[in-house]
Subunit: 173 residues, 2 copies
């Protein structure tokens, strides 16, 4: 199974929280409405992103969520780690150590790193480099170039309309 | 986790079928015994590898499995596709198309490719390049350099002892 669907939700959530007016927050319900997703999915994703320190929750009548750091400091890899717990594509279970030949030669069991694992780690490292180099700010910039002005304005207007007024944070949730 | 444990079983199974004496086959039970895995796991993996055309099954009293092509022509990516059905690490569900702003502007829904998907495809492509370039023959060569002679001989002797005598194939299973 590839990365879970919640990764797609999380990446879009982060991207659009990055489009909020400075200092304001968006409620979980409004974020779910904006994305067109079930509030329960969005709640779970926000919980993971908050736990990973990518998002801040604010309680109270003007409560809601905002990014904990700028979009330029949030990479795809950060989001993957937040929702998957780890980003590894392959978990070596060291099955080589179960080979029948090692019954008589236990000293050979796990000598060095498994050569199969080595190749998987190399592949993963190449993938991770791309995911670390790409911040969500880069996606935002590409969208600003690509989308028609009217569309960008409509998105910004919706988010600004739903966002709370900027207030001084009093507590984190 | 993107890749299931069965991938590790499949990669090790292919590697060791590649160590059989030319023309011989290994029964499913002996392959499971060699790898130290439950026969049911190995059966499932062999079924997937056979379906993908990486392995040939031969029925009858001298029945068993052998590679359908040389190890040098079997890449990590071939094995991933065989056991996963696809190798994609991310499935874009086009959730951008559900954004509330598109209710009034359906013509904006799915313009071009999602920029989030674009980054994931780039990462996947870098990973896939490594997995396509690495054949299981390369792993076999590395093991021949790395393992002590006595260990290689013990592995070869076990496989040769369990393998059927070479026979002319009469049917494929």
């Amino acid at each position: 199974m590839p990365y879970a669907a919640s990764l797609e939700y999380a990446l879009h959530a982060i991207l659009h929280l990055g489009g909020l007016p400075s200092g304001s927050v968006l409620s979980r319900e409004d974020l779910a409405r904006f994305l067109g997703l079930a509030p329960s999915y969005v709640a779970k994703v926000l919980q993971q992103l908050t736990k990973a320190g990518l998002v801040h929750g604010r309680r109270g009548p003007h409560g809601g969520y905002r990014l904990a750091r700028p979009l330029s400091a949030i990479s795809f890899w950060d989001v993957i780690e937040a929702v998957q717990g780890h980003g590894a594509i392959f978990h070596c279970q060291e099955i080589r150590g179960r080979c029948v030949v090692f019954r008589d030669h236990p000293e050979w069991r796990l000598r060095g790193r498994c050569e199969i694992h080595t190749v998987m780690l190399d592949a993963e490292s190449k993938m991770r480099t791309v995911l670390r180099r790409n911040s969500l700010a880069r996606v935002q910039r590409r969208l600003q170039t690509k989308l028609p002005r009217t569309q960008r304005d409509a998105i910004d207007a919706w988010l600004a309309g739903a966002a709370s007024e900027p207030v001084v944070p009093t507590a984190t949730a």
